[in-house]
Symmetry: C2
Subunit: 298 residues, 2 copies
């Protein structure tokens, strides 16, 4: 049987079942980062992301942008847990015919992004490979009181996103700014119940929150903010690589958030009981289930 | 200019020059692991290794052995720093045509190896990829007093290896047991000045110790232990993937080590002043420079 038969998330679920971890692991696989005990005050966050040529970028893109993205996606994972990125390792598989300036460009992009966010690049691995492949692993830390997981959404929570969705593949995915300051602001000033970064499409990533939180959700199509590059609502709902944060908080906290001046956090719906599943309401109030899923590797 | 012009280590040196790290980084790139401040008593170790199809394994190998090796090489890096492995993430790039049992086999191999060494597998990333590629990133910890780096070799130190070398590519590279208990024994009972795991051949990896320690070395060819699979001395000196530990300690400590009953640590030479470089002495006492280097990706 091919892996395509069970799909990316089917395979992940099969593998997760076999994992046992010790008491020092607060949260293993299944969130944006693994969460490990660090000291009295803080947890350590640990995450990795693999970028593959022709899947996550085209080789003719500027190498600086490829290296930049490799770091940015992990920063986004740390942000989604409410944390601060601290250290990273970068593994790169390079074709033999790679130009030296191209290889250095990837590294410069990764290093520039690391510096921007005050992250220490502390090493890595270089290998030869038919196609360009980059894996970044990152360590971060988070105050215990500010940790946010996918599993904390509560019925009645209001759901928000940090920015407009859709059409990222037209270029934004290479230049996006991880929502690290926004995550810091949110976790410092509000009780955020659940959060995830949108890498595989709003509907699919919201699905991860609902699965982990045993909840359903109702999303108001009209309220989903479309980016100028979005090719209609479906693109904003299902296409990946937005790297905006999707989060939920109590209606009381949500009211405080909505009362902010220059509030750019967009309310898009509500967490509802699990038996409803994930629902979409259109501008006539008609309710339906999503038509599609979102990005899956297989 | 192609990367092959400057070579793997030339490229790494060019990139390393641009890295700046903060005071929490005890040792950044350039050793088996990055070393980070953890608490009063301990450092944290952070390492990653990328394995690529047709470079580090053939795809027709048993998937369990491939997954096993992916974890073992990082355990070996942690061992070389005197530490204990604690957590790992595994990123896997899988071709679409991959059989489910094959994918699960890789994971089972990685998980089995993790359990054997008490390491928590806490997550990872799955991507599609033309060729199979696996990247493992691992966190470990080490008591400050037991940390061993490549840079600590001293003139007059005696040089040892933990086992026989050469011919690993005939199969041992897929089944080797990382020298974690041995590293624990050594760092607990002896003052080890420098250590590295032999992944790219004795001569090349000894070269890393010498470069970082500003020393030279004299190796007695007759004393280099040959594995039964080794195709002569050159194979033991230059071929990679042995994953034995290479270490140096003062002559006084070395005498204690050699006096052990059932001592299986093999004395192979001495650290000498840097101006001599790396020298080999044959059975007639004739001294020469190594003919070759060792494994390089490009």
């Amino acid at each position: 049987m091919r892996i395509t038969k069970v799909g990316e998330f089917g395979l992940i679920r099969r593998l997760q079942r076999k994992i046992i971890t010790d008491a020092s692991v607060v949260k293993g696989s299944g969130d944006d980062c693994a969460v490990l005990r660090l000291d009295k005050r803080r947890y350590q966050l640990f995450t990795c992301d693999m970028l593959v040529e022709a899947v996550d970028f085209r080789p003719r893109e500027k190498p600086q942008l490829i290296g930049r993205k490799a770091v940015a996606v992990s920063v986004s994972d740390i942000a989604a847990c409410g944390g601060r990125p601290r250290y990273l390792l970068i593994s790169v598989g390079l074709p033999l015919k790679t130009d030296l300036a191209y290889a250095e460009g990837i590294f410069q992009g990764a290093l520039g992004m690391s510096r921007k966010y005050g992250i220490n690049l502390v090493g890595g691995d270089i290998s030869k490979s038919d196609k360009l492949v980059i894996d970044v692993s990152m360590l971060g830390e988070v105050k215990k009181s500010r940790l946010v997981l996918r599993s904390g959404a509560k019925k009645g929570d209001f759901i928000f996103v940090t920015g407009a969705l859709g059409g990222s593949i037209k270029g934004r995915h290479l230049r996006f700014a991880p929502r690290l300051p926004e995550a810091g602001f949110l976790t410092q000033n509000f009780k955020i119940n659940a959060m995830i970064d949108i890498s595989d499409g709003l509907i699919q990533d919201l699905g991860h929150i609902l699965e982990q939180s045993n909840c359903g959700a109702l999303i108001y199509e009209e309220l989903v903010p479309l980016s100028p590059q979005a090719d209609g609502l479906a693109d904003a709902l299902y296409s990946g690589e937005d790297f905006e944060l999707l989060f939920s908080l109590s209606s009381r906290e949500a009211k405080r958030l909505m009362a902010l001046k220059n509030n750019f956090y967009k309310f898009i719906g509500q967490i509802i009981p699990q038996e409803y599943g994930l629902l979409l309401a259109d501008d006539s109030g008609r309710i339906r289930q999503p038509r599609a899923q979102g990005y899956r590797h297989f």
